[in-house]
Each structure stands twice: as C-alpha cells, then as structure tokens.
Symmetry: C2
Subunit: 248 residues, 2 copies
DNA sequence: CGTCATCCTTGATGCAGATCAAGTCAGAAA
DNA sequence: TTTCTGACTTGATCTGCATCAAGGATGACG
C-alpha cells in the first residue's frame, strides 16, 4: 500500500494515453513541458481509497488508467455514487482544499497528479487549461443530469440497461469498437458498486442482470465479462428517447 | 406572449440585483460597459416555455428575477427536473448551439441575455467571465451531485424536507434572513414540479407535505406559503449528515 | 487438499410509494 | 350568483423493489 502510493511511473506526456482527452489536451508543447516537470504519478490498487470526504487534498489530477468512483454517504450508511471516473477524467476542484466526496479505486488505478498550488497558479496564466477544465466540467454536468433522470425516473431494469450502455459505449470508444452491433467489455464494478451507482440494492442489481441475460439482451461469461449481441436492443431496454450521444 | 418576449427592461448593470453573483460578477467596469451594450432583457410569464430541448439556441443568459426549471423527458412522458434556476443562475452552454433541456418559467421571470456569438468572443478575451463561469459550473456540479444523493437514496419524506430546506435556505440568503430558527417563504413550484424534481408522484408529494404539516415541521398558509418554525428540525428530517452548507 | 473470504445468486416476504379514483378549494369567467 | 378550471388533497388498492435469509461459485492461502 505504501509502496504503491509512491511508485514512480516514467511516462512522457508525449506518449500519454490520455494526452488528447485530459485537462492538458489543449496545451501547447511549451506549456506541456512545464506540466511535465510538475506532474507525478500515483498508483492505487483495486479497493484502495484515494481520498476520504473532508480530508485535506493538496493535489488534483487525472485518471490515466483504471476506474475510480466518487461516493457520498449519509450518516446512517446509505451511500450513493456521484461520479464514475474513467481514464482522462479529472479529480479535485481548484480553489477547494478538502475533498467533497470519497474517492475509491475500483480497479488498479494510475493517476497523473499535480500539487494544487502550482496547478492553480499555472491555471491563472494558462487559459488553455482553464478552458479545457470548463469544457470537461460542463460535460460532467451534462452526464450528472442524465444520471439524475436515471435515478429519478427509470425502473430497475432500465437503470441496469442504462449503466451497461454507458460502460459499453465508453469502453467501445477506448478500444475503437463501434458502439453498435455486438460489443464486449468487462464490468469494472461489483454488484454493490453498481447498486450504489443506480440507487438500488445489490440483490436487485443481481436479479435484473439475470433477467437481461435470460432475455438474451446480454450474455455473461463469469460475473464480469459482458457480451452485448445487439447494442440497439440494449439501448431500447434503457428507455431513453435519443441514442444518448451526449455521454461519450 | 409575443409582447413579453420583446419587452425591454431599462436596467443598468450597476444596480442589477444579481451583479455580484452572476456570470459577470468578476468583471471590471470597462468589461461591464461592453456587456452593458451587448445585453438585452427578456421576460417570461409563469408557465411560459423559455426554450425546448433540441431547439436552436442563439443566446445565453442569467435569471435576474423569478424561477425557471430545466427538465428532461423520456419518450413515454416521464419527466425529471435536472436544474432549478434561481436568480443569478446561468442558462445555456457556450459552444453548443441547441438546447439540451426544456427550460420553463415557473414564476414570472426576467432574464439578462447575450447573443451567443458575441458572448463567446468576449469570453475568449475576458478571463474574468470564463473564470466565473467555471466556478459557477463547478458549483452546479456539486449541487447536481447532492441532488443525486436525494434521488437515489432518500425516502419521500426526506426528499420533501431536502427540497424545502434548499428553497428555504436560498430564499433566506436572498432576503437576508438567517437560515436558522424560523424562516418563511413561498414555494415557487407546483406539487407536480416538486414531484418532477424529486422523482416522485404529485400525490406522494402532497401526502408528505401534509405529514410534515401534521408533525409540526412546517406550517402552511394556503398551498404555497410555508413557515418553518425551526429550521434545524427540517434539516434533521432531510437526513443529511452535514448542514448542507454547499448549496447556497 | 480443505477452508476461508469475497462476491454473487436466488427465494420468501413486507412495505413505501405508485396508481386509480373521488373529491375539495380558490380564483376566474360568465 | 353559478360554473368552470387548475391545483391540490385524500382514500383504496396494487406492485416493484427492499429486506431478510440461505446457499453457490471462485480464488487465495494454509
């Protein structure tokens, strides 16, 4: 655990897998050089906590590989996931010095971090970063609003289908599959994490996944490896009007 | 309707009621002069639609007075509110040319608008605007995440209490009441709109409001005028761990 | 090889909130 | 005044998901 915290990752920004999608996407070579010198990598094992809500947070950063979650907990233990962080997603809020949510790695995760202070100073001088961060935040807001529709108005079956569609589409875009016809991916979340995402219990998640399997909407190999024979069918089950093009 | 669309509002930015909270909050006098010349006011009557999802949107703007809602609708008519726009809140997304959601005025509303193109150009040259917009968007994202917890994990009674607390706190901050002890306000939403906010039916909203009244958590005069004798008590009913200081 | 823990599935039952169905109330129009 | 309409309330019943409970599968580790 300690070891992994400090483990160095000898990446150059130039061949960074999230170079064109992360907060640094718009930076010019000279700006990138500065960032390159500021940045440091941190690794987290699956299940490890990145930060607790309320704790002092002196860095911001991007998920390079892996999946992490943001969750909020009520005093009696009910928990709701409020963010699903995939590669290129940003964590931390400039201008705030404590974490607002629990962040947990659900797979092994590598993050590219910057100490908050220098990053904020750089933001003030480098419109390319603030610009990109605004764009990413607006995208996240759209995703949060789409998610609110799922939480507020969809049935359990539709919720599961929606989540599978989101993960499937994002995975497809990373692996250059097309998000139609057959797509294949691994679930990066336990049943419980899916329940926390969707405002359900893990039993209901399990039942609905079994039902979708029984109805041929998905096929499972083990508990995590999912094949969607017809993505169109899955989208229908999700109950959206449009094809959900917003989320990416 | 047409008349109200075009009605001019002879405001100077200097004495604008949302001057210090809106997207222009950080602008300097010279920048304000430019905005002052670009801006135009639009008024909407209660119930009037500001814009339909998917429609071309060639302006952005701020709510000056009144309350509007953003809603998303599934094909079978299920509706979820995804944004509640109070004075100083921003509507529209720079860089996008169609509306993503339905926007409806729920009370009479006055908006301060800018044509999108000139506003975007100004944003590119005026970091103060982009800066403030980033900050506001991050706040909205926090609010959306808080809302997700409400939608996903709270009971009907807690949902109602949460909504009353949010409206009460915001109203209090506008009218310089303190958000503790007794506070008094008018609901700017119908029962149906509250239901769409909270992912409930209007019957359940009505029943839970009656229950809170019966239990002395709130008092009602007519259907809309609410007195909260002890704001602390209402917060307890909302089931949050903290005092929800984030939302404002 | 067993055993232990974690994650998951499935069944039985209960209940919160949805749905269906009458009303009530207050303000506007006639 | 009556009538109408839109917003709201309340009651009766239904149902989707939660809850409670038991057991299965897989992999790590002795």
């Amino acid at each position: 655990m300690l070891k992994s915290d400090l483990q160095a990752m000898p990446h150059e920004c130039g061949d960074c897998p999230i170079r064109h999608r992360a907060v640094c996407a718009r930076c010019e070579p000279t700006e990138l050089t500065v960032l390159d010198q500021m940045k440091f990598y941190r690794s987290f094992e699956a299940g490890q906590t990145v930060i607790w809500a309320g704790d002092r947070m002196d860095f911001v950063g991007s998920v390079v590989t892996g999946v992490a979650t943001l969750t909020q907990t009520l005093e009696d233990g009910r928990t709701q996931m409020v963010g699903l962080l995939l590669p290129s997603d940003f964590i931390g809020r400039p201008g705030r010095d404590t974490a607002a949510y629990n962040a947990v790695a659900t797979t092994d995760v590598v993050m590219c971090c910057f100490r908050k202070k220098p990053f904020e100073e750089m933001m003030a001088h480098t419109p390319h970063i603030a610009e990109r961060l605004l764009e990413m935040t607006l995208d996240e807001l759209d995703a949060a609003r789409e998610w609110m529709v799922v939480l507020g108005r969809k049935t359990a079956r539709e919720k599961i289908a929606s989540l599978l569609a989101i993960i499937g589409r994002r995975t497809a875009s990373l692996t250059l599959q097309e998000a139609r016809g057959e797509i294949v991916f691994d679930l990066p979340l336990t049943r419980e994490a899916m329940a926390d995402y969707l405002g359900l219990t893990l039993e209901t998640v399990s039942r609905q996944i079994s039902a979708l399997k029984r109805d041929g909407v998905i096929a499972l190999e083990g508990k995590r490896h999912v094949t969607v024979p017809d993505f169109r069918l899955l989208m229908d089950e999700a109950g959206d009007d449009a094809d959900g093009g917003l989320l990416v």
